[in-house]
């Protein structure tokens, strides 16, 4: 139930809601249709990366519930540590394949630069997230990696406030600060994908960008359909590109 607002004055909450719904209406946030060119196994790796992240967070939460020494002492703990490790390996593998796929699609076209950038930053932030996990293992691996990694950190001055030989500090970064950053970046990345839609294929020079013959119509009214196109432009992609700004060179 909505409350009558003061005439001519909209609350911050209303403005936020309107901006959010305007940017991502429900049918765009959770579409039930995709353009027919979204038809390749390469698209699987994006959602697989997301799934691996969920497994990482889930197994990490279980490990966190029992504390950092649990997995050394019990079979169940070691099992969940193994799940955590392999989920991380799968996360990086699927993310790298996803990134390569998006590179070869030039997926930043059509005002999607921010989509690429948030994905790339996620990869970069995931690296220290994993590193802090490796140095929090409380085993020989952690001893060796921390005493080696300190040199790189110290060389750029980061060692002054990011001490890889301090288990307590690294554990905090690993279970809270970095995961929050990764999850926030992934959330932003996915929302941008939903906002801008999946990048269309390169167009053939000798073909007009017409609808393929014999194809079906969208299921439902404009399900997941991108907004109307603007005029083609030669301008470089913009991080703040509007959905209508399409047509820049890759």
């Amino acid at each position: 139930m909505s409350v009558a607002a003061t005439p001519g004055k909209r609350s911050w909450t209303v403005r936020t809601r309107e901006a959010a719904v305007g940017a991502l209406p429900p049918e765009k946030l959770l579409p039930d249709g995709q353009p027919t060119y979204v038809d390749s196994w390469i698209y699987v790796f994006g959602v697989a990366t997301l799934a691996a992240l969920i497994v990482i967070v889930g197994s990490g939460m279980i490990l966190g519930l029992k504390g950092p020494a649990w997995w050394h002492d019990t079979g169940v703990g070691h099992f969940f540590n193994s799940i955590h490790l392999w989920a991380v390996e799968l996360f990086f593998f699927t993310m790298v394949v996803h990134l390569w796929g998006k590179y070869w699609m030039a997926a930043w076209r059509g005002g999607r630069a921010r989509v690429w950038m948030t994905g790339a930053v996620t990869f970069l932030v995931a690296i220290p997230t994993a590193l802090t996990g490796y140095v929090s293992q409380q085993n020989f691996d952690a001893q060796w990696i921390s005493t080696q990694a300190k040199d790189a950190m110290n060389s750029i001055g980061a060692g002054a406030f990011f001490n890889v030989t301090n288990f307590g500090q690294m554990y905090s970064w690993h279970v809270l600060l970095f995961p929050v950053a990764v999850v926030a970046l992934v959330a932003g990345h996915v929302l941008l994908v939903r906002r801008h839609g999946v990048v269309p294929p390169f167009e053939l020079a000798e073909r007009a960008p017409a609808a393929p013959a014999g194809s079906a119509s969208p299921p439902g009214p404009a399900s997941g359909a991108p907004p109307p196109a603007g005029p083609p432009s030669e301008a470089p992609p913009s991080g703040g590109a509007q959905p209508g700004r399409q047509g820049e060179p890759s």
């Binding site: 959770l30 930043w108 060692g159």
Partner: protein
């Protein structure tokens, strides 16, 4: 030959039914299953950590050599510079000296931290107290002469049945008494707790014991056998045959080639190179040439082959 334009227009074509939530649930199931299968088949590595007690018992000569180097300021940490001490400026790249700029944030005075403070915890040992007093009362040149002579003698030391060291007679002053007392403390496990000591009851900072052990040969020896050294691409390896941080391959790569390989400033140079590459990676959409490669090399024809075949 088909030529691809750089044009991207909004899709005006048809749509196919798509269940986003179902796809995520299936992916989650598959990834979970894969993780479980890999776990059941391969488990995960967990090599027990080394301890100072193990180190001092297994290789007492190396332990005492390391302790002597901490005492006379010749160890790796003693001469490291920031953030541990002012013994060196640290690494730099041209005018960039962030290691020096950030200063000493984790001060470690190696003679005090690794020798005098632990020895001070040994009570009721007048001979040891006398040896410490003699050492502290000697001139710097005398201290240096004693420790250098003892360090050299340790190269040919033998281990007695009770775990103590035997060295040839020489002018070592009070150094052997101090080192043997420290060795005894370490072999009983007392040194680890001592190095973790702070003003707090609970401990989470292992900087002091880790750096002390890293100055010795134990960790390096284990790392070499586990192919974890820098020249073994160790940064991206894992103990055993498990995959490690393979995503660090490019970072590791630079350490294998000149001018980084033998540079005293290798770490900062590699970090700077990787920082520039990372910025470029994020900014690919704005870099002419790099952003056009996908159009020049049409891998996308494979990705969208169904789409293009429908167009033809």
């Amino acid at each position: 030959m088909t030529r691809y334009t750089g044009q991207t227009r909004d899709w005006k074509g048809p749509y196919a039914a798509y269940d986003l939530v179902k796809e995520l649930c299936i992916a989650l199931g598959v990834i979970t299953l894969l993780a479980v299968v890999l776990t059941v088949l391969l488990s995960s590595p967990d090599e027990k950590p080394s301890t100072i007690a193990q180190w001092s018992t297994a290789t007492p000569a190396d332990f005492e050599s390391t302790a002597v180097s901490e005492l006379d300021g010749t160890s790796g940490i003693a001469g490291y510079g920031p953030p541990y001490n002012h013994a060196a400026e640290g690494q730099h790249a041209a005018f960039l000296k962030p290691q020096e700029w950030l200063g000493v944030s984790h001060p470690i005075d190696t003679p005090s931290a690794y020798v005098f403070e632990p020895l001070a915890t040994i009570a009721n040992d007048p001979a040891l107290q006398s040896a410490i007093a003699t050492y502290k009362g000697a001139s710097a040149s005398q201290q240096k002469a004693w420790s250098e002579a003892y360090a050299k003698a340790l190269e040919n030391a033998t281990v007695a049945a009770n775990g103590t060291l035997r060295v040839a007679a020489g002018a070592y002053g009070p150094v052997p008494a101090m080192m043997n007392a420290l060795l005894g403390l370490a072999q009983t496990g007392g040194l680890e707790g001592n190095l973790l000591r702070s003003n707090q009851f609970f401990q989470t900072d292992y900087t002091k014991p880790l750096l002390f052990m890293a100055d010795g040969k134990l960790l390096e020896g284990r790392a070499e056998s586990e192919h974890l050294l820098g020249d073994q691409w160790g940064m991206m390896n894992e103990t055993g045959s498990y995959p490690g941080q393979s995503w660090l391959w490019l970072y590791t790569f630079w350490y294998q080639i000149e001018p980084f390989k033998n540079s005293e400033n290798a770490d900062i140079l590699v970090v700077l190179v990787m920082t520039l590459l990372s910025i470029a990676f994020v900014c690919i959409p704005f870099i002419p040439g790099v952003r056009s490669i996908p159009r020049w090399i049409p891998v996308h024809r494979l990705i969208w082959r169904e789409h293009y075949s429908r167009l033809r």
